[in-house]
Symmetry: C3
């Protein structure tokens, strides 16, 4: 089975079968990453541009390693060195890069919608590496892969997502992807951080009390408080936040025995969750990162027209 | 036929045959760039250092992609991470890099003459990626390649160049290259931006009125107003600049029917030219960028001792 | 003979045979670097992350070139783009990178001990590219290689090291490495810059007068005054420093005829040494840099389990 999309911008746009295909291919890529020689010639002679308008260590590094293990040529462009400082429009920058004949542009940009805007106008593939508060599909896929490895399926899982839902592209990608795959979502966060009407996205329940969200959950996903972006008004003191919306060994007991604990990183230890939980047996946080490279290899592979490898 | 130079610093230093050779090779490289697997082993095992003392997206990216498609190892060094902040002289930095045995150093530096200074002292090849207001030979070559694709020859073309001639290395490289190839140049810009005596460079005419420069032109090349560098004194208001020295559908009619419109980018839309012209049928701006990768591949190839590929 | 260590953090940890092995392999790598095609497939499919928490041109570039010439995939991460700005701990950053399955992390970090801390917890190899004032083993090795090329052996050499000993990781690596190999060390610097008790490190003599240190020396190694880090209190005026602790043609005559002059760079010309000495016949400064790539190739090779190439 082939993948029909030129771009991957949002999990909302993908069918159940397409998500399944990406996850299946990612498992094959995990095998490549476990080899002594972690390199396949799949994308040899292809050019990938990593265009990051926002700083990023792990996502950029993960995409760069993914591209290199597929033998692509990878080129990094970050905001600080970009022509945007010279007043060029995003479309002009993109058209200029396109003229250099990249096969794929992996882009992080603060403005939701910028990826769709470019994808319509550019013949090369666009992969969204995070766009404002909209979606972060590679993160959603790696989260789902990590859950599937644990439970064998996503169907029927109860997933709690706790924190600043409003500003979280991670939450949105997980909500779209997981509900599509048959999971049910329970959200909780300070009232200022939960967008009204989000239940309409599908199988989503909002809980005022975090304990209701994680009660009997298979997965507890804690979101990062973006201290560097947060306006003062949305958040009470960090201490208070941590008390009502932080994960600790006590409230984790409300979830299912052996429930998975997840976090997209980087973690503010002691804010979103106690160090005890971060480093505990139920934490799958580093497994998520490991799956990230494999998922990104799968994304790069399929937008390049790859079939499911056998 | 071989290319005799170790370095490419200025089009002023190249003969007609040498420019022809570079353009011919660039056409071969365009073919490589159109392949599904855009990679040839030509410079395998060669090391290219991209040493940029000024920020650049497109030129650095273009050279980096060019090097990678030729299978060279490419290493980027930009000012912000450079030892110059530690007070090292340019020559000391260059000698240190040389000791790492690069085959080619591609350098952008604000000081005209710094490339010649290094080229005399270093056995590796130096390619000028822009030096102050002196030359930008890869830009000049890609401009000429774009014109030659349209007209089959550069001989006898009438090329208008409009804008800040004084501070433009792009203008200087085009003037040297194009007059060498038999084209005639018509310059126009605010009096403060046209260096006295520039007519002595060859087949060059200065026109006070922009309309005289573009009248009957085959090519209209608009230069970028470097808003970020411009002192206040050289420029009247942008609105006034745009009125007297901006290209728009009306004054473009003065040029030949189907005259080429060119710009080195990044464009200040509405300043040097109206968006209608930027995006119009006569615009070859993105073709220029596309040719840029091919031209840079040709430059890297020939300074490495490559013959004309057959 | 194999190399038994997973990591290279300090020359203090290496035996005489291990240092010998690294230097021998570096000579083989020098041969690779002298080829027309400077590339061997030794580390194909391996991933090297260059994680620099402090700015660096030459060390980072040297490690990057070393990795590429061994055909590894190299990824650069520098502080400015790192998650540390988001408040992540060093260990969390490292564990996240580890999850991407790098084979080697080359790290520069201001805190002495951070490399040991990570090496104990991470299964991948850690190479120290400089840690605070502790050690800079690749610099120590390249210095020793340069001396061995000149004298055939390190046994019995008299090496003077002059400058800010207290803050110099270069001095410490050389002291540990050279004394292990049978050389004797004579240190000199302003009293505020020589740590009390350093003679206990081995065959080390402290001289108040620089002239006593360099008298009859085989090697005179001048350290960099880190103007950008120096607190005002440690240093008298630069002029005074230069007068009492700078190397010039006059005091150099106190050393052996044809004594080697060395400096880790970048040089403050006229401070640590006069330009006349920097550029003179006895200077081996650029040879040091050249050896740096070869030594780093040897380090990458041996931590990856390579045997001595034959």
């Amino acid at each position: 089975m082939g993948f029909k999309h030129k771009d991957i911008i949002a999990l909302q746009d993908l069918t159940r079968d397409e998500i399944q295909l990406l996850l299946d291919t990612a498992e094959n890529m995990r095998e490549v990453n476990s080899r002594d020689i972690k390199k396949v010639p799949t994308l040899r002679g292809k050019t990938i541009i990593n265009l990051f308008y926002e700083a990023s260590t792990r996502t950029r590094t993960s995409f760069e390693i993914a591209g290199k293990r597929l033998s692509a040529d990878t080129v990094n462009i970050s905001t600080s060195t970009s022509s945007t400082t010279k007043g060029e429009t995003l479309l002009d920058t993109a058209l200029n890069l396109l003229a250099m004949k990249p096969d794929i542009i992996v882009m992080r940009h603060a403005i939701s919608g910028s990826h769709y805007f470019l994808a319509k106008r550019l013949p090369c593939s666009i992969i969204n590496a995070g766009d404002g508060a909209h979606e972060h599909p590679s993160q959603g896929l790696l989260d789902m892969l990590t859950m599937r490895q644990e439970f064998g399926t996503l169907e029927g899982l109860k997933v709690a997502i706790v924190g600043d839902i409003t500003h979280s592209r991670v939450a949105r990608s997980n909500i779209h992807g997981l509900t599509r795959m048959g999971a049910s979502i329970f959200l909780s966060g300070p009232p200022t951080m939960v967008p009204p009407g989000i239940e309409r996205l599908g199988n989503v329940t909002v809980c005022n009390d975090m304990r209701d969200a994680i009660a009997d959950a298979d997965v507890v996903m804690m979101l990062r408080i973006q201290l560097e972006r947060q306006g003062k008004t949305l958040l009470p003191t960090l201490k208070e936040y941590s008390r009502y919306y932080g994960l600790n060994p006590d409230n984790l007991k409300l979830a299912k025995k052996d429930a998975m604990v997840m976090h997209p990183g980087p973690i503010n230890r002691g804010v979103e969750m106690s160090s005890y939980v971060v480093d505990g047996d139920q934490s799958h946080i580093l497994k998520q990162v490991e799956n990230g490279v494999a998922v990104r290899m799968a994304m790069l592979y399929h937008v390049s027209g790859g079939e499911l490898p056998t």
